[in-house]
């Protein structure tokens, strides 16, 4: 009994030691990579913004012209987010919103949506998703095998003026948008989220453009 207890206690201690050592290793790795990872995420974000909104279209410092919004169910977000505002000569050009489709096949799908001041979608990109590789991941421009007419670009130039809110669905559900057979769920989720984001941006357009800007600490962050 005592011997068994001693052996068990010894093993527990050894296991604890291993857990401690490897947790320390992971913590060190995390500490060493944190800043680089954050920097590449920022650079990645700017690259994405350039894809949905050409840098020539605006002349303000986009990353510092933002207004904060609370958790917005219309955008599928349960945390506060920032809306970036592109202007040219002080005139509104576009709003950049983050949105989330919570009904993706592999979990939430994060989107970046650019809505022009005229109320049409300028561009949409999927920023984060876990859709099935090779099947549902065509919602991501870079994974789409249809390079000539990528699926995610079908939203460009479309506005609520031509397509009423209830038709921002895939064709299978009675909407206006195509999808790839066998992977309807991913397209359905993204289409719905884009439609809701567009409706939100259109409804709050003036308020969002005129809201006092957030202050970005000097040196960026």
């Amino acid at each position: 009994m005592n011997a068994a207890f001693a052996a068990t206690a010894r093993n527990a201690l050894i296991l604890f030691g291993f857990a401690l050592a490897f947790t320390a290793l992971m913590a060190i790795t995390w500490g060493a990579t944190r800043d680089t990872i954050r920097a590449s995420a920022e650079a990645e974000k700017m690259k994405l913004i350039d894809e949905v909104l050409p840098p020539r279209a605006y002349d303000n410092a986009l990353l510092s012209d933002w207004t904060g919004i609370g958790p917005e169910p219309a955008l599928g977000l349960d945390a506060p987010s920032r809306v970036l505002r592109a202007r040219r000569g002080g005139e509104p050009v576009a709003l950049l919103l983050e949105a989330q489709a919570n009904d993706g096949y592999g979990g939430p799908i994060r989107l970046l949506v650019a809505v022009g001041a005229d109320g049409s979608v300028l561009g949409v990109r999927v920023t984060q998703h876990r859709e099935t590789p090779g099947l549902g991941d065509y919602i991501d421009l870079h994974k789409d095998r249809n390079k000539a007419h990528p699926w995610i670009r079908r939203f460009e130039g479309r506005g609520l003026a031509q397509i009423p809110p209830e038709r921002w669905r895939v064709k299978k559900d009675g909407g206006d948008f195509d999808y790839v057979a066998g992977a309807t769920i991913s397209a359905r989720a993204v289409t719905g989220a884009v439609g809701r984001a567009l409706a939100f941006a259109s409804a709050h357009r003036d308020a969002l453009f005129s809201a006092p800007g957030g202050v970005r600490p000097a040196g960026g962050g």
């Binding site: 052996a7 010894r10 093993n11 050894i14 296991l15 291993f18 857990a19 490897f22 947790t23 290793l25 992971m26 790795t29 995390w30 060493a32 990579t33 680089t36 990872i37 590449s40 990645e44 876990r130 099935t132 590789p133 090779g134 099947l135 870079h142 994974k143 095998r145 057979a181 066998g182």
Partner: protein, 226 residues
């Protein structure tokens, strides 16, 4: 390591005990990710890296690990290594991370890593264990790339789709005409099972033929079923 040992380990990993075709271990990522050559080979290569590190580290620590708690310790080692590889790729090989990103955490659930640690690295030296991890991983890479290639070719008519994410400017090959409608089942999970079955059958056929030839010289005996 002796020459014969080096050769024997490589032969085991690549052919005799090929993880995907003979041991049938780690099928979950194999079947899920092998939708194209690039996906399959990318996951395979990330697995090679983790297997080499996990096997070497386990072999180095093997005398400190009590037999009764070896499995939790092995899992701890593998999970920590995968986490560190994930973070390191994200920070220092970001473009590669964009391709492999979602696959790297999947390596934790690939039981071939744990299997080689338990069967080989826990009883052998650091160099042999690392080599075993590399060749077993290489066996997986070959099968994943082959399976990915077949599925991509049948499913979409292309090869190396997505290569532009690994090598800037590279273009996928359109093997079949642009009008090829695509055979969706090949991309879907059932296609993975079917094609893996054909690959296993092909490997068994080659093995049986070799065995028959070896025996054929003596007399016409039927080879035992594999």
């Amino acid at each position: 390591m002796e020459r014969t040992e080096i050769f024997e380990i490589a032969r085991n990993g690549l052919w005799k005990q090929n993880p995907a075709l003979t041991q049938l271990l780690g099928l979950c990522p194999t079947l899920a990710i092998s939708t194209s050559v690039v996906n399959g080979a990318s996951l395979g290569l990330a697995t090679v890296l983790v297997m080499a590190l996990a096997s070497a580290l386990t072999a180095a620590l093997r005398n400190l690990i009590p037999y009764e708690i070896r499995i939790p310790v092995f899992i701890l080692i593998i999970a920590s290594l995968v986490t560190m590889v994930d973070l390191a790729f994200n920070a220092w090989f970001h473009s590669l991370y964009l391709v492999l990103g979602i696959f790297i955490p999947l390596i934790v659930v690939n039981c071939i890593v744990l299997a080689r640690v338990e069967v080989f690295a826990a009883k052998n030296g650091v160099l042999s264990s690392a080599w075993d991890g590399i060749t077993m991983g290489a066996g997986l890479v070959v099968v994943l790339a082959l399976l990915g290639g077949l599925r991509e070719l049948l499913g979409a008519g292309t090869l190396f789709g997505g290569i532009d994410m690994v090598f800037e400017g590279a273009r996928p090959l359109h093997v079949l005409p642009e009008a090829y409608p695509g055979f969706l089942v090949a991309i879907l999970p059932p296609g993975a099972f079917l094609l893996l079955g054909f690959l296993i059958a092909g490997r068994n056929w080659l093995e049986e033929r070799a065995a028959r030839r070896a025996r054929g010289a003596a007399h016409e005996a039927r080879p035992a079923a594999a």
